[in-house]
């Protein structure tokens, strides 16, 4: 990859994670002029978040399961035909019949880019879990903790508690423990019996994916060996502390048990990044059971808008191997649309990726089932916790308004829930779940907030210095 100052490309790829890299490699191999845009300085995505070049990082993501991704990253970094546009946020996407225009915002202000095809491979983010106390400094997504470790070699306030439903927290806790961080407890919301039932439902898949499960098992063993308790059936009731996190309260209301801690990693699942697809008017669907908006696509990963493609967690959170397969399929689809390869060639070359994607999807479905956050979310929906941290709107204020309307955009207007700096990235999923429950409707029938420009807040002076075309 090379730094580049062009403004017009055949293909613009948003996101330099496994999906974006895979698509770029397919496209570069057939001679497409493509650029990859990312908020980070270096490629890798969240899963291979790289430390700054000046850091001497030892044992950086050296687990076995990362090996194929590390290999792809190396090839990507060495592919000179791919332009790398790091440290930029994409704040706007305007699809057009003659090509699409993309506005990015970075340290040098705004930049306007255009391309015949745009691929959105923007990944996902930790589902914000609004347990009482979640806004205290020291409470964060488990993925954020992992990022601090991978990218900066930083361990958050010790000892660390992990709480959630998603088994990924075992791996993160083990990584942190191995890096010398003190972990106080890993607390699964659901009982081992419930999780076991999910595994039995998917037992064929579980057997076929023995190595991945083995990794989780190994993480658990490592933690136990390091003296870290891994407990099940430990619903998080509250995060305590005056001006920062000092403890996590578990158990039922009448038998609270407090684990003292300096920080807490919340791991209840992941939501697809959907600001850009929704702003550009792409069709999306509610992504059950973890929630959030997954962008709809056809078999070549093309969205409802011609020439705008999606791959990876943007289409539903399913893990890096699937993201990579989808990136490859999208890359081949775009190459065929550009006339660089024949449809027949694309079909033939995509076949193995479709095959492995299909197999991995079954594992992703099992993980979804194990990690289902519904019970945990119902608990906070019934509490008085703040669900919109930007505008300080409580779950009880939302419940009260739901008595007169269950239209989420109306509740937003009346309560200000979702009107703040994050524009609903934190609270929209909670509001939608609460509204669906109040109306007795299925989540798949719900409408979300209207996506608007800009996808990230942008300085008005910057916007005027480099006006949109």
């Amino acid at each position: 990859m090379t730094d580049n100052a062009e403004t017009s490309y055949d293909v613009l790829i948003v996101g330099g994670g496994p999906a974006g890299q895979a698509a770029a490699l397919e496209l570069a191999a057939v001679g497409a002029r493509c650029a990859v845009i990312d908020e980070q300085a270096r490629p890798g995505g969240q899963i291979l978040r790289q430390p700054p070049v000046s850091f001497a990082a030892q044992n950086w993501v050296d687990e076995n399961s990362y090996r194929p991704l590390r290999q792809q990253l190396r090839v990507f970094e060495n592919q000179a035909a791919i332009a790398w546009l790091g440290r930029r946020s994409v704040i706007g996407l305007q699809p057009g019949p003659q090509g699409h225009s993309l506005t990015t915002s970075g340290a040098d202000g705004l930049q306007e880019l255009s391309a015949a095809h745009v691929l959105i491979a923007a990944g996902c983010y930790d589902m914000p879990y609004p347990a009482p106390g979640w806004t205290l400094p020291g409470a964060m997504g488990a993925g954020a903790m992992q990022t601090l470790l991978k990218a900066q070699g930083i361990v958050t306030g010790e000892p660390i508690v992990f709480a959630g439903t998603h088994p990924l927290m075992l791996l993160i806790a083990a990584q942190i423990s191995r890096a010398g961080g003190k972990v106080a407890e890993v607390a699964f919301d659901r009982s081992l019996a419930t999780i076991g039932k999910s595994m039995i439902r998917h037992c064929a898949t579980a057997l076929r994916n023995g190595s991945l499960l083995g990794e989780a098992g190994k993480a658990m063993m490592d933690l136990r060996r390091a003296g870290v308790p891994v407990r099940f059936g430990r619903p998080l009731q509250e995060i305590t502390g005056a001006d920062r996190v000092t403890g996590a309260v578990f158990g039922e209301a009448d038998h609270p048990e407090t684990t003292p801690c300096g920080s807490i990693g919340l791991c209840y699942g992941f939501l697809p990044q959907s600001d850009l697809p929704r702003q550009a008017g792409l069709s999306v669907r509610w992504s059950s059971p973890s929630g959030g908006w997954a962008t709809c696509h056809d078999q070549w990963m093309q969205s409802s808008v011609e020439g705008v493609w999606v791959a990876g967690e943007t289409t539903g959170v399913a893990g890096a191997p699937i993201a990579r397969d989808e990136g490859r399929i999208a890359g081949l689809g775009i190459a065929a649309a550009l006339g660089l390869i024949t449809n027949r060639d694309a079909t033939r070359r995509a076949a193995p990726f479709r095959q492995s994607r299909k197999a991995a999807m079954r594992f992703a479905a099992m993980l979804d089932d194990i990690a289902a956050p519904k019970q945990a979310l119902d608990r906070v929906a019934a509490s008085n916790t703040t669900i919109c941290r930007c505008e300080k709107v409580s779950a009880s204020a939302v419940r009260e308004t739901l008595g007169s309307t269950t239209d989420v955009n109306a509740v937003k207007r009346i309560t200000r829930c979702g009107m703040g700096l994050c524009q609903g990235r934190n609270c929209e999923h909670m509001l939608i779940r609460m509204s669906a429950a109040a109306e007795g409707r299925g989540l798949e029938t719900m409408k979300g907030f209207t996506g608007r420009f800009p996808a990230r807040p942008v300085s008005i002076a910057d916007l005027l210095e480099k006006p949109l075309p």
């Binding site: 305007q94 309307t405 239209d407 109306a410 009346i414 608007r452 008005i460 949109l468």
Partner: protein, 417 residues
Amino acid sequence: MKKIARRSVEHWTNSDVFLSDIDFLVIGGGLVGAASAWHLASAGTKVWLCEQASPGHGASGQNAGSLHFQIERRFLEREDGVGREGEQTAQLSRLAVQDWRDLERQIGRNLGVHMEGGLMVAHSAQEVRLLETKAAREQAMGLAVETIDRAQVQALAPYLSPDILAANFMADEGHADARIIAPAFADAAQSAGARLLDATRVASLQKRGALFEARLEKGEEIQTVTAAKVLICAGIWSPQIAAMAGLHLPLFPAPLTMNATARTAAFLPYLIQHVGRRLSIKQTAAGNLLIGGGWPSRLHRTGSGFDFSRAPALVPQSLTGNLQTAVETMPVIGEHELLRSWTGITAVTQDQLPVAGEFPSLPGLFCAAGGSAFTLGPTFARLVADQMLERRRDEADALLSVASPARFESLNGFMGR
């Protein structure tokens, strides 16, 4: 159908009317519809308020909430200048000032009303002359507007650009919270006995004998209701509803652009407008700066026309044009972050004047739509409710004459029913 006893409505009802299911059907749950329903229900009548989504879903909840009582820039742009219509609108503005001053007390709910003054600014000598002419006309019409010079502008609002040469100040101007106003009125209307039908569309509307019959659809549920009188106040959807009754209501969609910054500490108590450029700036109680002023956005199109069901597309030139104008007027705006740009559709008539009153060719059918319906909305609601209730009817007719749908009779004369 059962006969319903009523208290205060005998003086307008006739024997046929007693056969209707309800007295009044109000179509459109925006500011005007919700406030009308509140007035009508408060008079002891049986009112249904029908809203296709939820109260304030349309332009009432999408506009930037300006309470502007000075003569509008768009009227000054007209070739014949500020005519008779301008004076009549000014008369309505005077009433609107009184209405807004008392609304929160009357309905017992917070509407975020802030009337701490408004400045309409000028950058050029020519614009200053326009301000002075305008202020003279406004004073003659009983609006308390005064032209102040650069030093006075700076003393009042030091954050305005030193390039501003003068401004017209009106102490009554300000803003209200567009987010909450229609839901608040809908809530008050329900407390007064009105029935709100949300997520409900009107599928047909026709006059049968002395009554209006409407078919209402909420998802799969369909019901038919008869009403003595009907008020159409459905913003840009109003022409479609009027067409169901066989009438022209010539309104045109005006897709506009609004912008909000991230919150900032309170510093701006005034409504800021520009006499020569499209601009409005205000600061909400929460701290966001709202920047608008009538910059266009782009309607989506269908095979046969415009698609009002989708939010209009943002036009980049409008976004930057609006923000550039804002920064040239108030440089500090450049230091803020743009949080959200949104679009919404208001409805305007060809002569830019609003529409409010009864259709002469179809007695019993009323409408209230077409521009300035936020600032003048509570007043339209009050006066149209008076007309519908036959309460101080002559006075209401006179005040609304400038807005009467009678001016479409030349078109509706061709319409057989």
